[in-house]
Symmetry: C2
Subunit: 340 residues, 2 copies
């Protein structure tokens, strides 16, 4: 690889000191009252020689890497890949680069990735925390690692987060289904202690109770490790009981995997069972019966996560908890409309 010129070489070619060059290139010419003429000369030479500072040296000296670490559960999942793209673009605007990793919802993996990213010298972390990671997050926060949680949060920790108003999202869904005349409404979720899922369940329960349908509440929990098999069991169970007119799937993956099952078993949507899912997906729109879903404001969520993080990094006294509980939007399509 061709060697790039160093500051020293650039200074030598101009017959000035490295200090001067450094000052000018860091935009501090005014502050140090460098002559305009000299300033121009330096900048022109830097351009001419295609100079760009050695990042490792700058990092070492400044203690900053202008690198942020992002840990999502799986960057090949459309929900997270869309978010990652927005984070990347936003971080670039602030002159930061991003190191992405995927935790696969695994605690040990998450711990390991955090360690690796911190060792790489990232200035801060955006983390989609997995089940059981509350202690880890707490430790990071206590160690004053700039940190923003994304998509999920811990109510008991004073850690900033950028999330959906999950409770409201399932309220919207449930109320919509009730309006359509469905009463036997079930919900499918993961086995987890994470708030985002449990809030979604709570929003559903709340709306069911308010509608006087406490007895119709029906919750299926699926272990993410055996999602496919357990989805079969869960849906078979719901359908056998004849207990379900409508199903709410609480994540995108659950929705897609649920549709696979319903499809394979010739259960028609919405004729046999109405369906509402989470997060936009081409699959939903192109399905024979387009699927209603909760649309999250991904731009907002991702941009705010970056904003909060940069804010923490750059004003390090600023350790106050910043939170975003963004508004869900219910996109209604054929899958949840009662055919009359």
């Amino acid at each position: 690889m061709k060697k790039r010129p160093s500051l020293k070489e650039l200074a030598a070619s101009l017959e000035v000191s490295p200090t001067l060059v450094s000052i000018v290139l860091n935009g501090k010419a005014k502050e140090y009252r460098i002559s305009e003429e000299m300033t121009k000369k330096v900048i022109a030479a830097a351009k001419e020689m295609n100079y760009s500072p050695n990042v490792a040296a700058r990092n070492l000296r400044s203690g900053k890497s202008n690198l942020i670490g992002v840990i999502v559960t799986d960057i090949s999942n459309p929900f997270y890949s869309t978010i990652s793209r927005i984070i990347e673009d936003r971080a670039n605007e602030f002159n930061y680069n991003v190191l992405f990793s995927s935790s696969d919802e695994d605690l040990d993996s998450t711990k390991n990735l955090v360690e690796v990213l911190l060792n790489k010298g990232v200035d801060g972390l955006i983390l989609v925390p997995c089940d059981g990671s509350e202690g880890l997050v707490k430790n990071l926060h206590e160690d004053d690692v700039p940190l923003v949680l994304l998509d999920r949060y811990f109510p008991d920790l004073a850690v900033s987060y950028s999330c959906l108003n999950n409770f409201k999202s399932t309220q919207l869904i449930t109320q919509h289904l009730l309006e359509q005349g469905y009463q036997k409404i079930s919900i499918v979720a993961y086995v987890t202690e994470m708030t985002h899922i449990n809030d979604r369940i709570a929003g559903y329960e709340n709306s069911m109770i308010e509608a006087g349908l406490k007895d119709e509440i029906s919750i299926e929990r699926i272990d993410i490790a055996n999602a496919k098999t357990e989805m079969h069991g869960a849906l078979k169970n719901l359908i056998k009981k004849g207990k379900t007119e409508a199903i709410i799937f609480t994540t995108n993956m659950l929705t897609v995997s649920g549709i696979y099952y319903l499809n394979a078993n010739n259960i028609r949507i919405p004729d046999d069972i109405a369906v509402v899912g989470f997060n936009r997906n081409d699959v939903f729109n192109l399905y024979y019966s387009p699927i209603s879903y909760i649309k999250q404001p991904l731009e907002l969520l991702a941009n705010e996560a970056v904003n909060m993080l940069i804010d923490q990094i750059q004003n390090d006294e600023n350790k106050r908890k910043m939170t975003l509980n963004s508004e869900p939007e219910l996109v209604i399509q054929k899958s949840s409309l009662r055919m009359i």
Copy 2:
């Protein structure tokens, strides 16, 4: 952020020199014949103090960053997000981290990203080159930047690449459609000079000609910048002419966008028109008429790209061109089966 202990502090706590510690922690104890006892003591202390080397300092000293840059067209596109995930995992195995960026098929953007990544000190690049980037790629190669092209390549450049055998992919499709009794077969592609697309077109033409159907060859080109509008025009055109019994879409995005159009216009697949697309997508499988598609060996493609790159980085005399033209697989589903 909590300060991590330095090598010097670790050495001080052990009352030995930094040199010794460095040697031991870099696994060179044997080479320097450090006593086993001392070796163990150092390693234990490093663990105890949770020592990990400062990456910036190591990079500066070694001139290596253990960072590779990856430029895809859009990391939120499922095809590239899947590939990115595999690259990430593979790179980690080699103890490399990955900086991802998206070029949006834009040359200026690609140039800019290359510059940024190089300035960040990446040890090498995996690049999905866009239209018009041959000169850029040539320059990089001449500057001895370790470089592997992914998904697309330039036949005239001695640059390593990891790609699909594109010619063969559309041969497979065309032959399959011919076997099903379709003769009026059209193909939809981007306006581009890139080989991967033009090879796909060539494979189709080749099979059509071999079948004596030269006159039925029908190629629609779409400008990627106006994909949606032009897709409408192209398909309207094909259908009006009554000229098409089957359509081959040459990329995943084209396929999805084509299906949106056919859906909106109540054109039934395969009854009215048969369809074959590229790259697995949940959309295809869950569609009322599951879409046949070319499956690329993504694991292989991504892993080999990383292997080739690491090989270049670590054996820098090794500038020989390495190529992979991997085998396409045709997954046949309902969308291209003649209903008898």
